[in-house]
């Protein structure tokens, strides 16, 4: 019997991969909690999150205008793209005008969003992702399954086989140290052969006219030492007022993403390089691609996202299905909100995503920018309903609605609820309940005594 798309991913995901995703996600959530409690005890964490939310809630349009002027003043050519197609053309033309072929990439979800790699490769260019996780998935023609840990779904054995197949390693060896060293050797050649480096940006500093890149691998610095031209593709929501405010985000980003105090490398690029081996020209392409529509909508808060991945690490659904189940660039709670909004008139293809949520609210609690993700997910549900978009194999909730709005039925159901503990629910193989219990269980029901207690003590 057909399932909702996300159920299909849950069912077909390799148990080892599912275990790995769950372990990595739980580990990251625990690390985030521990480091924030250690470094920002009491209400300091909440204060920091409030600051991040408030800074991102500032005059974005004004800061963008200021950023453009500052970036241009620093010798950066600033260009503008209304959508992915225009951004791809702009970037391609810059590369083509320089008769360049070799492109190295610094991890960027925005370039993933516009599917830049495929586009440039189809035009005959050699495009290489330099972040190890991105390289691992690029050579197998996959999409990232997590915004911070793109290859979270790949085992060391998969990677070892893949490295041999793509001539990155000479022979099969699944030791992570050896695999990483093989990638180091392979990428060195790419860095020195590169004509162009393409990056995104974690932040744009409006007052100073600079972009900020946060990495652990240092591939950003190496890429910007080898290539002659630097092109940065940036969603305009990445603009913040100045370097002064950046401290708030740097303190939150690494702690929320990987449980570190800071990323190993933070690059500040404010124009063409002056040192010997550095890009001598720099372009920054600001991308809209639906962002201005989101900014004008009731879901504008999602533009405050700092792409740390904490929401997906904490999400009980993501932990079971992995990132590919969301079928778009951004997975997890972030993806449930952002992907349908960015999809525009293709909303129907992702209309099931807002329902891939238990409404537990945990994503909102861990978000370092204090984005009310559960509220935004509900807004997307509402949007799907109001637009009468059909969600395949959606479960009809009218029986529950009848139960919950008819007092005598509700009371009777509560009185009999413990009987459910003895029902062989997993034996149900047909209809919506059959589909539901195929991949889910319900917790043991222990309650039901509150009314009696309240009658005696209330």
């Amino acid at each position: 019997m057909a399932l909702q798309p996300i159920d299909h991913f849950c069912e077909t995901l390799d148990p080892h991969v599912k275990k790995a995703i769950t372990a990595a996600s739980v580990g990251s959530t625990n690390a985030q909690k521990a480091i924030l409690e250690r470094d920002y005890p009491g209400d300091k964490t909440d204060h920091l999150r409030s600051l991040a939310n408030a800074i991102k809630g500032g005059d974005l349009a004004g800061n963008l205008e200021k950023a453009v002027a500052s970036l241009e003043r620093n010798g950066i050519t600033v260009l503008f793209a209304k959508d992915g197609a225009e951004a791809r053309d702009i970037i391609y033309n810059i590369i083509k005008e320089r008769e360049a072929k070799n492109v190295v990439k610094i991890k960027s979800m925005t370039t993933e969003e516009i599917e830049l790699n495929h586009f440039l490769q189809e035009k005959g260019m050699d495009v290489v992702e330099t972040d190890l996780g991105e390289l691992i998935i690029q050579i197998e023609n996959e999409k990232p399954s997590h915004i911070v840990k793109p290859a979270i779904h790949r085992t060391r054995g998969d990677i070892a086989e893949s490295f041999v197949k793509h001539n990155i390693a000479e022979k099969y060896d699944d030791n992570p140290n050896h695999l990483t060293l093989a990638a180091r050797k392979y990428l060195r050649e790419k860095y020195f052969a590169a004509d162009v480096v393409v990056s995104g940006a974690n932040y744009v500093l409006a007052e100073e006219g600079a972009i900020v890149l946060c990495t652990n691998e240092g591939n950003s610095r190496f890429s910007m030492a080898g290539a002659k031209t630097h092109i940065a593709l940036v969603g305009f929501e990445k603009v913040i007022p100045s370097a002064k405010e950046l401290a708030v985000f740097l303190n939150l980003l690494a702690r929320s993403a990987t449980g570190q105090t800071s990323t190993a490398y933070t690059d500040f690029v404010a124009g063409p390089g002056k040192s010997k081996n550095s890009p001598k020209e720099m372009f920054l392409v600001f991308l809209d691609n639906g962002r201005s529509d989101i900014l004008a909508s009731e879901s504008a808060e999602i533009l405050k996202c700092i792409r740390c991945g904490a929401c997906m690490n904490r999400c009980p659904v993501f932990r079971l299905v992995g990132g590919h189940a969301y079928r778009a660039t951004y997975p997890g709670p972030l993806g449930i909100v952002l992907s349908p909004l960015l999809a525009g008139d293709k909303l129907a293809t992702l209309a099931d995503l807002p329902k891939a949520c238990s409404l537990c609210g945990a994503c909102g609690e861990v978000c370092p920018a204090k984005i009310p993700l559960p509220d935004l997910i509900l807004k997307n549900r509402d949007k799907v309903k109001k637009q009468h978009i059909h969600v395949p194999n959606d479960i009809n909730f009218w029986p529950f609605k009848l139960l919950a709005t008819t007092p005598w039925m509700w009371k009777s159901a509560m009185a009999m609820s413990k009987a459910a503990n003895f029902l062989p629910l997993s034996w149900i193989k047909f209809g919506p309940a059959g589909r539901w219990f195929k991949s889910r269980t319900i917790p043991r029901i222990n309650g039901g005594n509150f009314r009696n207690w309240f009658k005696k003590n209330g």
Binding site: P41, R184, E245, F268, L295
Partner: protein, 196 residues
């Protein structure tokens, strides 16, 4: 898309949005990582991320030798080679045709930050970025008086040249099953040599 059209579009989209005034940044931005003053905090936080701190020349030579170093490149912006030529083969120019020929690179750290345990390298104090990123071992020479306390102090004036970087640890990844591996692209050993 035309610049003015793009900016107008964003301005229009923001029209009905309640703008929050940028808040004053207070003590909430300073973490407990700053205990013990700027230098102590830097040493503690940098070494906790597997950075190595040395404070005398003999210790520096020892660490380099322990890491198998024989040939090094000292960035041309450095006033001197620190006397390293007595112990190692030293060159002042990084030749990108033989990037793996150098076991270590030495350059200037413009500042360091206690709170985050990061060194700051700036292009204005660096002749060649490759000296700092290509060899397996990188040594940044830092004046003790250039260590500042907070991240905010470190960010003050950060854009006074075209390119700056915070370095807080060796180049690292845990992209393969979460296993930490150092030296993925750049230095696998990151040393801060603090001088008076």
């Amino acid at each position: 898309m035309d610049k003015n059209d793009f900016l107008k579009r964003v301005r229009e989209a923001s029209k009905n949005r309640k703008v929050v005034e940028t808040p004053k940044l207070d003590c909430g931005v300073v973490s407990a990582m700053l205990e013990g003053g700027a230098k102590d905090a830097f040493v503690k936080n940098f070494t906790s991320n597997h950075g190595i701190v040395v404070e005398d020349f003999d210790a520096l030579v020892r660490v380099l030798k322990d890491n198998g170093c024989k040939i090094g490149v000292v960035d041309a912006k450095m006033d001197s080679t620190l006397g390293l030529e007595k112990h190692f083969e030293i060159t002042r120019e990084f030749d990108r045709n033989i990037p793996d020929a150098y076991h270590f690179g030495v350059s200037i750290a413009s500042k360091a930050i206690g709170e985050s345990g990061s060194m700051i390298l700036k292009d204005k104090d660096t002749d060649d970025r490759l000296t700092t990123v290509a060899p397996w071992v990188h040594v940044a020479v830092l004046k003790e008086s250039d260590i500042v306390s907070t991240l905010s102090d470190g960010l003050d004036g950060i854009i006074d040249n075209a390119y700056s970087i915070f370095i807080g640890a060796p180049s690292k990844t845990s992209d393969i099953e979460g296993v930490l591996v150092e030296g993925v692209h750049g230095p696998g050993v990151e040393i801060c040599y603090i001088v008076k």
